[in-house]
């Protein structure tokens, strides 16, 4: 605790506060732009910060990191244009809310949820990092396979009203995920001999294409470019009812986000999908899902930010970067002569605690910065669609080009955008495609590694207590709709008697 207070003392100097503020501002700005994420921003700023004090630079990066996580939700909600895969789940309900004139409420619950989750996540990070890391290293390939199975069976909530169309979308995404050189054998798959496809297709490009470009093309085809939506209808920013429905979702999202984010191969996107599904299952307002249910924004947004804190656990304790941004922060550490790993806390404790303290401060600053902006953002919707989507198109292309740096990326972007349009016209939801894209390659890699390690013995998949627990969760998730129906029919019959 004393260490943390010293950290605060280091981080709370006026100069460092300024850098924290610059960080969250830049972070929010780049989070809002599709395709330009916090990783790229930190990487671009890295050479500049060689001139800064290490503490100031790390504090700014922490601000960019959390700010980017937060900013990503804004475009998801307002424009149905997630800038990164972890904001996809937020777009599902958030954009529906925005179109129903409840954009401000959606943005507010996202901002507050991010704050709550970020703060709890940071507390968990400072209190339990070494402990969580001990559990996280027990996650080997079989455990990941079981975790992926949990994710697959629970994402049914994301599939939308038609199981067939949702499933088709999932398969489309999984197929896109297969493109590129297979890491186990080094063989190219679905690359059609095109070297530009050997490295696979960047998730960011797929997300931006399917969502942003698909949406833009759809407006173009339908000739609805002049359309605009009522940005605010009646109700205040966040009503008492909204708050009552949001806070349990924030906590549940945090509970999913932090531990999964802490896993060496967890990441921030899987928990957002899980959170969305969980909220849909638990909600008393299930019928609102798909039409703008506030829980569906609050949960995934909290999960996203809690995972952002969780990602720092393996980074600081084992030196494993598990997201692109974490990898860049790792580099920043190393350029100051710090070696993240088991000895980081004992060798460079002061700086680490200053970083953790600045995460708390960054969170507060983000809330201060963003809550007043919520209504201004919501006003953005009064711009006619053609204005908004022209901007989206520019930033989508810029983002895709920044991620890959070649014309081929732009061609892939356009082709996938047309695919998005096709899916939209056929009434096929695009979110499951992103789920398939992320989960399928992970599940495949880990399954093949498990079987290689066990020499083809399938029982390896249930060889540890952790895997057994996870598979039981899978069974429960599969059986619970059946059980519920059984109980309901029993009740119905017993009432008749």
């Amino acid at each position: 605790m004393g260490d943390l207070l010293n950290g605060f003392a280091d981080a709370l100097t006026p100069g460092n506060l300024l850098w924290a503020f610059v960080g969250v501002t830049i972070g929010t700005a780049v989070g809002v732009l599709p395709g330009i994420g916090p990783a790229l921003t930190v990487a671009l700023l890295l050479p500049v910060t060689f001139r800064l004090e290490p503490a100031a630079a790390l504090i700014m990066f922490a601000g960019i990191y959390y700010g980017g996580m937060y900013g990503g939700s804004t475009t998801s909600i307002l424009l149905n244009t997630p800038g990164e895969s972890a904001s996809v789940a937020t777009a599902l309900e958030g954009n529906k809310m925005a179109r129903a004139g409840r954009g401000a409420a959606a943005l507010a619950t996202a901002a507050l949820g991010s704050f709550v989750a970020g703060t709890i996540g940071t507390i968990a990070l400072s209190a339990a990092a070494p402990f969580v890391a001990d559990i996280a290293v027990n996650f080997g390939p079989p455990e990941y396979v079981a975790l992926m199975a949990v994710a697959f069976v629970t994402v049914s909530a994301l599939l939308g009203p038609s199981l067939l169309k949702g499933g088709a979308s999932l398969v489309i995404g999984a197929t896109i995920g297969l493109v590129g050189i297979d890491t186990q054998t080094g063989q190219a798959r679905l690359a059609f001999g095109l070297p530009s496809l050997f490295d696979g297709i960047d998730v960011v490009i797929v997300v931006v294409a399917l969502f942003a470009l698909g949406e833009t093309f759809a407006h173009l085809v339908a000739g609805t470019g002049d359309s605009r939506v009522e940005p605010l209808r009646g109700a205040p920013m966040l009503s008492r009812e909204d708050f009552r429905r949001s806070w349990p979702a924030w906590l549940r999202g945090t509970a999913l986000g932090f531990p999964i984010g802490s896993l060496p191969a967890g990441g921030a996107d899987v928990p957002t999908f899980l959170s969305y599904s969980l909220e849909k299952r638990l909600s008393k307002h299930r019928s609102q899902f798909g039409h703008g249910a506030i829980e569906g924004v609050a949960g995934p947004e909290a999960a996203n930010n809690a995972a952002a804190a969780g990602v720092l656990v393996p980074l600081l304790t084992i030196g494993l970067p598990t997201s692109a941004t974490a990898a860049v922060i790792l580099t920043a550490f190393q350029s100051y002569g710090l070696q993240p790993g088991p000895q980081l806390f004992s060798e460079s404790g002061e700086l680490v605690w200053a970083l953790i303290a600045s995460l708390y401060i960054g969170n507060v600053l983000l809330l201060v910065l963003n809550l007043p902006l919520v209504r201004a953002w919501a006003r953005l919707l009064t711009i006619p669609a053609y204005g908004i989507y022209a901007g989206v198109l520019v930033f989508a292309c810029l983002g895709a080009f920044a991620a890959g740096g070649t014309i081929a990326d732009l061609i892939v972007l356009t082709v996938l955008g047309l695919l998005g349009l096709l899916m939209r016209s056929a009434g096929v939801p695009v979110a499951p495609a992103v789920v398939g894209l992320i989960l399928a390659p992970l599940a495949e890699q880990q399954l093949r590694r498990s079987l290689a390690l066990s020499e083809g013995d399938w029982s390896t998949l249930v060889s540890s207590p952790l895997t057994v627990v996870l598979w039981i969760v899978v069974l429960l998730a599969l059986l619970s709709p059946l059980l519920r129906r059984l109980i309901q029919t029993r009740k119905a019959t017993s009432l008749k008697h």
Binding site: V22, T25, A29, A43, P47, I181, L373, L453
Partner: protein, 329 residues
């Protein structure tokens, strides 16, 4: 509550962002030594962050600061660097683009049957040599290389190796060890990962029998006691790990060096090539680089010009031969 103007919030934010951007431009742009018309060097690490090529790039970035100003490092991960290579050769004729590479890439080109080879790049300099270390989880019953060799002889498939990408130096080492202990190199149970960090997390979970990675990548973990080193692939014991015996000391006649170097894109003119080679040699003499070698436990192996090109050709022959024996090509 009705709509009211948002107040100064967005303007303040915009102003601050502008200040930050201006500040970054002003503070960042003045230290370029006039090299290559003041353009910034971009250095590709063709692997995931955390691995040996990534570390080499980042250390070069630091050491090049006094020689060439800011250098941008970016990662293109996967398939032993051939994915990065296939992207890199597109920068034809651009002397501001450099790529870190090494033995691993030669192996990957062969085993992946990559359509793009190193002959499409302009080799500049070999910089360092690193050696491989074979590790087991801290609580493993395997205590020495002799133990591991015994297990490989009795049941080769039951000994699983976690390491870097398919056809990379770790898989080559596993094959060489198998051959040296009298087992079939083609039967080695090798589980590929996209980088040392990922392989480490599989090893830490206790599922793999052994892990192979660069000494510099695992040194921190070995010293922290989370994993135990049983052998190094160097001719003599390494200063970084003085207690760890070599493979040869343990009657496994294998020696393997993981050298790393830098290449430029194809089609750069001879003058640029010479300037870049000079720059790299100057870099290896900086105190920052010398300190890096010390800290990382890398061995200085500077070699430039035609000698380096010849060296690459020789290594290519050796590696192809080894991979054929293992049935990887």
């Amino acid at each position: 509550m009705a709509w009211r103007p948002a107040g100064p919030g967005p303007y303040v934010a915009a102003a601050l962002a502008t200040i930050a951007l201006v500040a970054t431009t002003v503070f960042g742009g003045d230290d370029n030594a006039g090299f290559l018309n003041g353009r910034q060097l971009r250095l590709m690490a063709p692997a995931a962050p955390g691995g040996g090529w990534d570390q080499t790039s980042r250390e070069m970035q630091a050491a090049l600061r006094t020689e060439a100003g800011r250098t941008e490092v970016y990662n293109v991960a996967g398939a032993g660097g051939t994915i990065g290579l296939s992207q890199f050769v597109r920068h034809e004729g651009d002397p501001t683009q450099l790529m870190v590479m090494g033995l691993v890439m030669i192996g990957a080109i062969e085993s992946n049957d990559s359509p793009v080879g190193l002959d499409r790049t302009k080799p500049l300099a070999r910089l360092t040599t690193d050696y491989e270390v074979i590790v087991v989880p801290a609580d493993s019953p395997v205590k020495s290389m002799t133990d591991l060799a015994g297990r490989m002889k009795s049941n080769l498939g039951a000994v699983s190796w976690a390491g870097g990408s398919a056809g990379g130096i770790e898989q080559i080492l596993a094959g060489l060890v198998a051959e040296a202990v009298g087992a079939d190199p083609a039967g080695v149970n090798y589980v590929a990962h996209s980088g040392g960090g990922e392989a480490l997390s599989t090893l830490l979970s206790g599922r793999a029998t052994a892990g192979v990675s660069g000494v510099s990548e695992l040194e921190g973990q070995i010293k922290a006691g989370t994993i135990r080193a049983i052998a190094v692939s160097s001719p003599q014991r390494l200063p970084a790990l003085p207690d760890v015996p070599t493979l040869k000391e343990q009657q496994v006649d294998v020696e393997l060096a993981n050298w790393r170097g830098v290449v430029a894109p194809p089609g750069i003119d001879a003058d640029d090539e010479r300037q870049l080679e000079d720059l790299l040699v100057r870099m290896t003499r900086t105190p920052a680089w010398q300190e890096t070698l010390q800290r990382r436990g890398w061995i200085d192996a500077t070699l430039t010009g035609p000698q380096f090109e010849q060296y690459i050709a020789d290594e290519r022959r050796t590696v192809t031969d080894v991979l054929k024996k293992m049935g990887l090509t």
